[in-house]
């Protein structure tokens, strides 16, 4: 059972949260290549959000190659495999990490502690499966 949960008070927009949760689902192997995702309509109905919101998340996922959207088969996790780590993506990760690392440094976190934190989160995601924990 794959449960997707969204924080409605979060500052990050719903479509970004939705995109990230689905990618996390794939990373934790709860969602596997070829697995179906709900239609835009059903997803929006269950989340109680506008269909545009879900559509936006799906378009982002499709652009990056995480999902495929078929007319008949519907939405599926890309069965042909995941996008690769290319230069573009690496540059992106670097850019995203900078402010996070900077703030951690300012707050007095040393390199080892930061790397340990990353390892913990990495393993947490890979383990996945904590369905009940929706925080």
């Amino acid at each position: 059972m794959v449960i997707i949960s969204l924080d409605l008070q979060s500052e990050s927009p719903i479509y970004i949260q939705l995109r990230n949760k689905i990618i996390e689902g794939i990373a934790s192997k709860q969602l596997r290549p070829g697995d179906p995702l709900p239609s835009v309509r059903t997803f929006a109905q269950d989340l109680g959000v506008n269909m545009h919101t879900v559509n936006k998340a799906y378009q982002l996922l499709k652009q990056d190659g995480f999902i495929q959207i078929h007319r008949q088969k519907g939405v599926v996790i890309n069965p042909d495999g995941m996008p690769s780590v290319d230069e573009n993506y690496l540059a992106n990760v670097r850019e995203n990490l900078r402010p996070v690392i900077s703030e951690s440094v300012c707050r007095g976190m040393n390199k080892e502690e930061f790397i340990k934190l990353i390892q913990e989160v990495y393993e947490e995601i890979q383990k996945g499966g904590e369905h009940d924990d929706l925080r």
């Binding site: 949960s5 969204l6 709900p38 989340l47 109680g48 959000v49 369905h131 009940d132 925080r135």
Partner: protein, 363 residues
């Protein structure tokens, strides 16, 4: 006889109204979203008790008035009075509910639950792949009954009398006769067909309506919700079949007259079983399956999404952003519409219009 029908329909209505706050989901109370772990809060428990008492008392009072009136009025007048009484009761019960709705709103602001909890919406991606309802194939039986009723009508047309009884009082006295024609004899088979369509439609709604879970207890609330949907689906199939079967009765009586008293008894038994069945099912299962026992109920830092602003007066869902047409009722048992969706209105109008058209066609 009048008293029997009164007790059979009015009493269960009063009972189910009075206990409504006890059968709602743990995530809402009097149409207000609450974190599921404050459901047992002493003030809310007191509201529930007071509401049950007040609405129960109002129901009993109206029942007594109707009972006394039965001794003084004619059957015809009393039937009207009885119908009015039911509507008055529904209105009074709503006013009582609304007082507690307002108090609940104030309590929620005072206790500040929202700032202590994180508001979350959760969705199970494979929810609709689970077996949520019983197959529409079960409606084959009432369908065969309806077809039989149609064919039987054509075969026996010549044997039916020139004047057909169309309307009975509660005591089984014929008050309305109609001249025989293909249109008039087709009234009941058409009603059967309409009911069949309606019940299939409800079964589809039960399968497709919006997924609603308590994010504080995701797995448990999903299990409860599946049980809730399946039980109501089964109820719809059984009661639908009973209703369709019941409407073959007047059709048969056109050719083989049935003692009005016996057909009254049969009607009352069928209606009684359905009404009481619905009541028992509501109590045992609870709205959304909230009364189905599941293990390890957790308390936590999260609460279900607060969509109070879309629930007008706490009972009418109006959310233009939400594509859902059918949603679970908040205060009550069963489902309601998202009134912001035109589809809702189309279906509501059709459900009202088709019986009127059938009646006009037959007259």
């Amino acid at each position: 006889m009048i008293y029997v029908s009164m007790l059979l329909i009015f009493l269960p209505l009063v009972l189910i109204t009075a206990i409504t706050p006890y059968i709602t989901r743990k995530t809402e109370s009097f149409g207000i979203t609450i974190p599921s772990d404050v459901y047992q809060h002493p003030t809310i428990a007191e509201y529930r008790k007071k509401y049950a008492f007040q609405s129960g008392l109002a129901g009993v009072l109206i029942l007594v008035i109707l009972g006394i009136a039965a001794g003084f009025t004619t059957d015809y007048l009393w039937t009207i009075l009885y119908t009015v009484g039911i509507f008055v009761y529904i209105l009074v019960a709503f006013i009582i509910y609304f007082q507690f709705h307002k108090r609940m709103k104030q309590l929620k602001e005072k206790e500040n639950w929202k700032s202590k909890k994180k508001e979350v919406v959760a969705v199970d991606l494979s929810f609709y792949n689970k077996k949520l309802t019983y197959s529409n194939g079960w409606f084959l039986l009432p369908f065969i009954i309806t077809v039989f009723s149609l064919l039987w009508t054509f075969w026996n047309y010549d044997r039916m009398p020139e004047k057909l009884p169309m309307h009975y009082t509660l005591d089984g006295v014929v008050t309305d006769w109609a001249d025989k024609s293909y249109r008039t004899v087709l009234l009941f088979p058409f009603i059967q067909l309409f009911m069949l369509g309606l019940f299939v439609f409800i079964n589809i709604i039960i399968a497709r309506s919006k997924q609603q879970m308590d994010p504080a207890n995701p797995e448990e609330s999903i299990k409860q919700n599946i049980i809730f949907r399946r039980r109501w689906s089964l109820f719809i199939i059984i009661s639908g079949t009973m209703m369709v079967l019941l409407f073959t009765l007047p059709q048969v009586s056109f050719v083989y007259p049935i003692d009005p008293f016996i057909s009254f008894i049969i009607t009352m038994v069928v209606v009684g079983v359905i009404v009481i069945g619905a009541g028992v099912l509501s109590i045992v299962t609870g709205q959304g399956g909230s009364r189905v026992n599941v293990t390890n109920r957790k308390t936590g830092e999260i609460m279900n999404r607060d969509d109070d602003r879309y629930w007008k007066l706490g009972v009418f869902y109006f959310n233009p952003d939400d594509p859902a047409v059918w949603v679970e009722k908040r205060f009550g048992s069963g489902w309601t519409n998202n009134f912001a969706r035109p589809t809702s209105w189309i279906f509501l109008i059709l459900i009202l219009l088709i019986p009127i058209l059938i009646a006009v066609f037959a007259s």
